[in-house]
């Protein structure tokens, strides 16, 4: 077990930011913490890292209680914060060297690790650049390099892709998977469900400091009663036809707006075929059609009654 949190409670006055939350992170997994902004993800991470005081609960990392002076534990943790934490007066190389030097005393060893980190995040051409000269994506990569240069066993990434372009985002996500393959256990927090779905081996969805659901993405999706969502574009329908669609087997929700039809089906066989047959029989023309499997947003929607993106 890498992280164990038991019954954690963190209050800000009357507001409960983390509400009796327990979790376990196993070695070698990429553990995703998914929740909307303000759901308590960062507060939870800060409590785990012994940055924040908390009201109740126990936290242990690598089997030992986590405290601010637990330097033996901290030595094996790498953290990439939500806000870029680098010194504007130091170059890319100097920033990584500075933060790596807080963990690694040996100069030769540190030099090797810094070079590897620069190589890993692809900042070789920018090593003498100052942070202000870097683009948002490159800056995020530098932020990551500063957090992982000392080769930690546990890496915690708190929303590392906020305000990053798609190309840099993909680079970052690929890098996280590579770090995991090299042996690091990853805790990844995000409010982007696509990212969490893409890289995490296990996911915990939280809202208002409480756990909504935990499991693999398949397990989470199986917890809800949505089989698929079929969208038909540029379609002309009358009320009778809409009523017929509503009576289709497994159709749980039918929406028609601006000539676009969206039908949510519960789990079942041939949902898409049934809808296509009906449209053909009714001689209804359409521009496009596609079927979408349920997403984590649907999971969140079903459990909380609101969109994850809200």
């Amino acid at each position: 077990m890498v992280i164990k949190v038991e019954n954690l409670v963190k209050r800000y006055g009357d507001l409960i930011a983390v509400d009796h939350l327990s979790l376990e992170v196993q070695q070698g997994e990429i553990f995703g913490l998914l929740g909307p902004n303000g759901s308590g993800k960062t507060t939870l991470i800060n409590c785990i890292l012994a940055l924040l005081k908390y009201d109740k609960g126990n936290i242990s990392i690598f089997g030992k209680p986590m405290r601010p002076d637990a330097y033996d534990i901290k030595r094996d943790i790498g953290v990439i914060m939500q806000n870029v934490a680098v010194f504007n007066e130091l170059t890319v190389y100097e920033n990584i060297d500075y933060f790596c030097g807080l963990y690694v005393k040996d100069k030769a060893e540190r030099k090797r690790l810094v070079e590897e980190a620069i190589e890993f995040v692809g900042l070789n051409d920018f090593r003498s650049f100052y942070p202000k000269k870097l683009s948002g994506g490159l800056l995020r990569r530098l932020n990551i390099a500063c957090g992982i240069a000392h080769k930690p066993k546990l890496i915690i990434l708190d929303e590392p892709t906020v305000a990053v372009d798609p190309q840099s985002r993909n680079n970052i996500l690929e890098g996280i998977v590579r770090l995991n393959k090299q042996g690091a256990t990853i805790v990844y927090t995000s409010h982007y469900m696509e990212e969490v779905e893409q890289i995490c081996t296990r996911i915990m969805i939280i809202d208002k400091g409480r756990i909504i659901a935990t499991g693999t993405k398949e397990e989470l999706k199986s917890m809800i009663n949505i089989g698929e969502i079929v969208s038909v574009g540029s379609v002309e329908l009358n009320q009778t036809q809409l009523e017929t669609i509503r009576r289709l087997p497994n159709a749980s929700q039918v929406e028609y707006e601006n000539h676009n039809l969206t039908v949510t089906f519960a789990k079942g066989r041939s949902n898409l075929l049934n809808l296509m047959d009906l449209l053909r029989k009714e001689n209804v023309d359409y521009g496009s059609v596609y079927s979408q499997l349920p997403t984590l947003n649907d999971v969140f929607l079903e459990f909380t009654g609101k969109q994850l993106r809200d």
Partner: protein, 389 residues
Amino acid sequence: MFTHVFKYRLKCLLRDKVVLFWTILFPIVLSTLFFTAFSNLNNAVSFTSAKVAVVDNEAYRNNKPFQEALVSVSEKRDEQEPLLSVELVSSDEAETLLEQGKVHGIILLDPDIKLVVKQSGMHQSIIKSFLDQYRQISASYGTVILRNIDIPANGDTLTRFPADDYLTELPLGKNKTDNTVTYYYALLAMASLYGAFWGLRVIGEVQADQSANGARINLAPVHKMKTLLAGILAAWIIQFVELSLLLLYMILVLKVPFGNQAGYILLTCLVGALAGLTLGTLVSGLVKRNLGLKIGVLIGLSMLMSGLAGLYFAPFKYIVIKAVPMLAYINPANLITDALYALYYYDTYHRFALNIALLLAFSAVFLLLTYLTVRRDRYASIPSIQEDN
């Protein structure tokens, strides 16, 4: 580890152009402005001789003592302007010169000495004072001679007319009094207190609730106090070097008198730098989060303290000492100016030592309070911090 952190703190601070501007460039510019202003002021009040036309008549030619007295006050001495600038002319010419404003007054011996002026003013008063003094002295010598007192009554007796005052201004200490030095000393004190900006930065970078870098440093396996001490030491060295450069500029370029005790003057800079720096660490530790508020508090404090030490109006320093002596003793800026003052004017080191001891005591108190405010390990809350910290 300490060396590693210290090296990078030094690099970071030395590359912080904004703080460097306020802590070294701004005081240099301000001292130059002071220099320009004081030069103009000195020129504006510089002394010029009173121009006087003496009527060259029989009575004048017969009055040797008066002629010699006139010569004695119209000669240039020690690069100083003479009291009177004398023109020997006829009666008509004298009147023309006075009419045209080319002389301030006419001296006419008829046979009594008479002064003719067209208007009153400083120069006219100077001529009158000279004549009054001459009359008084010649009357005194006349009395002495009449009473047959045994002094040599030769012709030289009245020639040694006292061109200078009877009272000579002597400095109490070892150096000549210069009122403008208060401004420069107060400026150096202000620059010392500006070291608070380094302190502000040093604290911000080790506190997880003040910067993202602070959060990252708190997550590292290094004691926070070790990082803090490395930062304070780096900032102290930089601030001391900056003050020394400012001092050199004032002494070598602006020719501000600081005395000859370089070692003690540098000690004042060293202790002053520490006092300013620790004031900054304290304010930064006490005022949470809002950087603008912290900067405002620090600027306000340093301006107030420097003002009370005579930065804007030199006599204010003495007014404070007289009216609220305690305020002078708890004002680090005043202690710095006073230490420099004591070195420049006094022969003993008691007052200097008291100022330095008080500055060290304040620094220790500021450091202790800083420690108490930043020593905690866990934070009650960590706000979302701007990336550009």
